[in-house]
């Protein structure tokens, strides 16, 4: 087997093995088939949920909140991170704040976010934005700090001014670190949005999981869980594509 097909095999093998073990244990009733319905039985439930219960709009609602929150959090996060990387006073001023807020479980600030932005869509978008903001800022900062000083000298020698330095050295030089931060942030965003939808939403994938759990529709709950996993996977793939365009010198 060549490298590519080995990779493909290994990629599929993990989830497939898990599903198989689960299927067998559930069918043999080693685990309760009510609380752990066999994966093969979930298929029909999923089809029905897509067809009759608007599962698709729940998925798009969550994806939209993540996407909008991601953009609103990332852009200022990168700007702050650049500033923190480039100017030490900015770094020292924001560092304690960033470290402290970074450590708070983000779902804990949901009440505050609702107070500030209301019970509607905006609060759901903003909690994602706020959750990832410092994460992106800190990654960007470490990216800027890791840029070899030589590039600063080269750019200066070739006539770059301060602003050109930021755009042509600091920003592209920290892009790999920014994407590392975004990858981390994507996972966080999913956690936060599912948690938020448990507590304060009328649609969304988190809402689907929580609502079905409360009325003990276990199969539906599992479908929600699996969809959440697939969403995480798909968002990562999308980020890979964006990254390949944004950092062409890293690919191949």
């Amino acid at each position: 087997m060549n490298r590519r097909s080995t990779e493909l095999f290994l990629t599929i093998a993990g989830p497939a093995l898990l599903l198989l073990v689960w299927e067998v244990l559930s069918r043999l009733e080693v685990i309760s088939p009510f609380y752990w319905p066999a994966p093969s039985k979930l298929w029909g439930t999923a089809v029905e949920m897509f067809r009759d219960r608007g599962l698709w709009s729940d998925i798009t609602a969550s994806l939209w909140r993540i996407f909008a929150g991601f953009v609103i959090g990332t852009v200022p996060g990168v700007l702050l991170g650049l500033a923190m990387g480039l100017w030490w006073p900015v770094r020292i001023f924001f560092m304690p704040l960033a470290s402290a807020i970074y450590a708070i479980p983000k779902i804990a600030i949901l009440p505050l976010v609702i107070i500030a932005f209301g019970i509607g869509e905006l609060s759901k978008i903003m909690i994602v934005a706020i959750s990832i903001f410092f994460m992106i800022a800190l990654s960007t900062m470490s990216g800027v700090l890791a840029i070899d000083d030589q590039f600063h000298d080269v750019a200066t020698n070739l006539g770059a001014n301060r602003w050109q330095m930021i755009v042509t050295v600091a920003l592209p030089g920290s892009l790999p670190a920014i994407f590392t931060g975004m990858r981390l942030a994507l996972g966080f965003a999913l956690i936060v949005i599912v948690g938020t939808e448990f507590l304060a939403a009328k649609e969304g994938i988190g809402f689907v999981i929580w609502q079905n759990y409360q009325i003990l529709r276990i199969k539906e709950m599992f479908v929600g869980l699996i969809i959440t996993g697939l969403m995480g996977w798909a968002m990562n793939l999308a980020l890979d594509v964006v990254e390949r365009y944004a950092i062409p010198w890293r690919s191949q």
Binding site: D148, Q150, D153, A155, T156, N157, L158, T168
Partner: protein, 274 residues
Amino acid sequence: MTLALKHEQMTGHPERGVHVVVRNTDRVFESKQGEVIALSNVNLEAKPGEFLVIVGPSGCGKSTLLRMIAGLDQPTNGSIELLAPEGKHATNSMVFHGRTLFPWLTLRGNVAYGPKMHGVNAAEAYERADELLELVGLRGFERSWPHQISEGMRQRVSLARALATDPDLLLMDEPFGALDEQTRYILQEELLRIWGDSGKTVLFVTHSIEEALMLGDRVLVMTARPGHIAREVSVPFGRPRTLTEIRANPAFAPLFQEIWSTLREEVERGGAFS
């Protein structure tokens, strides 16, 4: 033929080189472990259009000296002057030591960087970059990334990038230090061809005595740290030169010996300190 023409366009007139004057210059670094006197009382002069080579033991301040001449660092004492003809502003470009191509720019982007920073519009800057890449033998690699090419090719790009702003003074810090011997010979000859009668003043730092004799009009030998100029050697070989010719020249061995004996003393003296 076309190459020679482009070369002429880009490198300009013979009488335009910078006159470099370094007077009584010290550079002292403050660090937590105390003061490091990198350079002490350096005096040197490079005449317009001259190819001046500097050799010296590791750590004696050669890079520091070039950085100060480039204006990237300031002397603690003394003065450094770059005098351009007719009082016009003297420009310089440095070919830095090590891997200093921007990894996020293509070869074309790297070479076009300087012109772009100087306000040349992108199309024109890229056109000039492509010409320079051709001049250093890298036609067809315009869209490659620095990590995709060999070390020798990267040094050619660094040279092209430094030439792109058409500087009056070219500062080169061990540009061929990391290259294998064959590539180094080839690049030395190419550098001489490109420098040709461009009139640019060149300050070239190297660890190789042979390279110094191959390239320079004069060679300055520096002492161990704190560095200053220990000896000056005029190189009598005519131009154009080839390595084979200068090696066969009866003057080569005594010159090599003269530089090496000074250098050896300094390297050993420096070694005893560290």
